[in-house]
């Protein structure tokens, strides 16, 4: 096995599995702590809402397992947002109106993006990155590379920001802290540059 993909519920793990398959990587989809702990690398994808995903992780005790991991981990989209302390998503009455407590690995919070007629939300489309710090994840990826984003929430740039992207305001498009990394875009749907980023991740130890 090259990588374990954490099953955090929601649909659409298929596109990530296929992307890894195209790179010749052996991926296992799992929500079992033992499998995830022993994997050489871990991917934390996420489609759906922060509240649902955290509830799924808690139900399996993974909210305690993930922050303790020492192998390279990459959160994708919602999976990146879950690395932070808190998300505003899940502000509804059923969530107590307090948003969602996340994994607390990276300090900071995830906030809803503000929609205007010029900048609709969800932010959907291809954007470029302004890289703030070099990282092996970005080997061979130039500043002209485009990545595909689909999200309504984002993290403001902070000390852990590796790259940022502007949509109305700048937001964190790649973050990194120790062995934990996160990308706000979808590398599995970002053509050549996305494949290169995933291939880079698969070389991390």
């Amino acid at each position: 096995m090259d990588v374990a993909i954490i099953d955090s519920g929601g649909a659409n793990l298929a596109s990530l599995v296929y992307a890894l398959q195209r790179l010749g990587a052996k991926a296992v989809v799992s929500d079992e702590a033992a499998v995830i702990r022993s994997a050489p690398r871990v991917l934390l994808p996420g489609v759906g809402s922060a509240g649902n995903a955290m509830a799924r992780l808690r139900a399996k005790g993974l909210h305690e397992v993930i922050p303790q991991l020492t192998q390279p981990l990459l959160g994708i989209c919602l999976g990146m947002q879950l690395l932070f302390d808190h998300s505003d998503e899940g502000d509804g009455p059923s969530d107590g109106g307090a948003g969602t407590q996340c994994l607390g690995i990276i300090a900071g919070k995830v906030a809803r993006m503000t929609a205007t007629t010029q900048l609709p939300v969800p932010h959907m489309g291809w954007n470029q990155l302004a890289v703030q710090q070099d990282d092996p994840l970005l080997t061979g990826i130039g500043s002209e590379a485009w990545f595909y984003f689909v999200h309504s929430y984002c993290a403001a740039p902070g000390p852990s920001t590796l790259a940022q992207t502007v949509y109305g305001a700048p937001f964190t498009s790649i973050c990194s802290l120790r062995n934990f990394r996160g990308v706000q875009f979808h590398p599995e749907r970002s053509a050549g540059p996305g494949a290169r980023l995933l291939a880079n991740f698969l070389t991390l130890v």
């Binding site: 929601g10 398959q21 007629t117 939300v121 309504s152 050549g192």
Partner: protein, 235 residues
């Protein structure tokens, strides 16, 4: 397009890869006869497409339930697009948005010009069943957003297929009340039509089918043209 025949699926895969290699930003697969015929999209081909495609794609046609949408998304599609079923059961939009998130729920709207404005049509894939719902387009655009649509594809029927340009007046009226991405559809005939759409700022993306399928416009040429007009495109 018919998706049931294996040979046709082969053509779909080839076409999908060709557009991907030409730097299409997203693909939408329409099974336009699905809703009028009361059947769902045959999903076998979706996983095959997802295996080879590394750009986002959306599947439309006869998705009438959360379970049907889930199967399409699980097969590897990014988004589902609903049109006629949303008109029959608007609550479906709410259900899909709450289950999967707004970002994967696209609502397609077939809108016809009337003496008073614009009205929404249903079952447009079948000339015998196509009908005017008497719903006012702008009102429907507002409603689907309130229900959780994450993207709207507005197909302007009066300009569809005639290749005389996008319906900028209608798109501008919709853009004014649209807080989610708006995709323009219907009318593209020349690269100039795409430039006019983006320069008017009344859509976030342009969708076209026949000019690409026929080879009348090659996507790389179109992107270079738009770039020369200082419109930001991925190349």
């Amino acid at each position: 397009m018919q998706f049931r025949d294996h040979r046709v699926v082969g053509d779909i895969l080839e076409l999908a890869q060709r557009y991907r290699d030409q730097d299409a930003d997203e693909l939408v697969f329409y099974d336009i006869t699905a809703s009028p015929q009361g059947r769902s999209v045959d999903r076998g081909w979706i996983a095959r497409v997802a295996e080879v495609l590394d750009i986002p794609f959306c599947v439309a046609g006869g998705i009438r339930s959360v379970a049907e949408a889930e199967a399409v998304l699980n097969a590897g599609a990014e988004k589902v697009s609903i049109n006629s079923p949303a008109l029959s059961d608007p609550g479906l939009i709410d259900q899909l948005a709450s289950r999967f998130g707004s970002q994967c729920v696209v609502v397609g709207i077939d809108s016809q010009t009337t003496p008073e404005g614009w009205s929404v049509h249903q079952f447009t894939g079948d000339p015998d069943r196509s009908r005017d719902t008497r719903r006012e387009t702008l009102q429907w655009v507002s409603e689907v957003q309130q229900r959780g649509a994450g993207e709207i594809v507005l197909n302007c029927m009066a300009s569809d297929g005639v290749r005389r340009g996008y319906d900028l007046a209608q798109l501008a009226a919709v853009r004014e009340i649209c807080r989610v991405p708006l995709v323009a559809s219907g009318g593209a005939g020349t690269p100039e039509h795409f430039a006019a759409l983006f320069e008017a700022g009344c859509a976030d993306a342009a969708l076209a089918a026949s000019v690409f399928h026929s080879g009348a416009i090659a996507i790389p040429d179109l992107k270079q043209f738009l770039k020369s007009r200082h419109i930001e495109v991925r190349t």
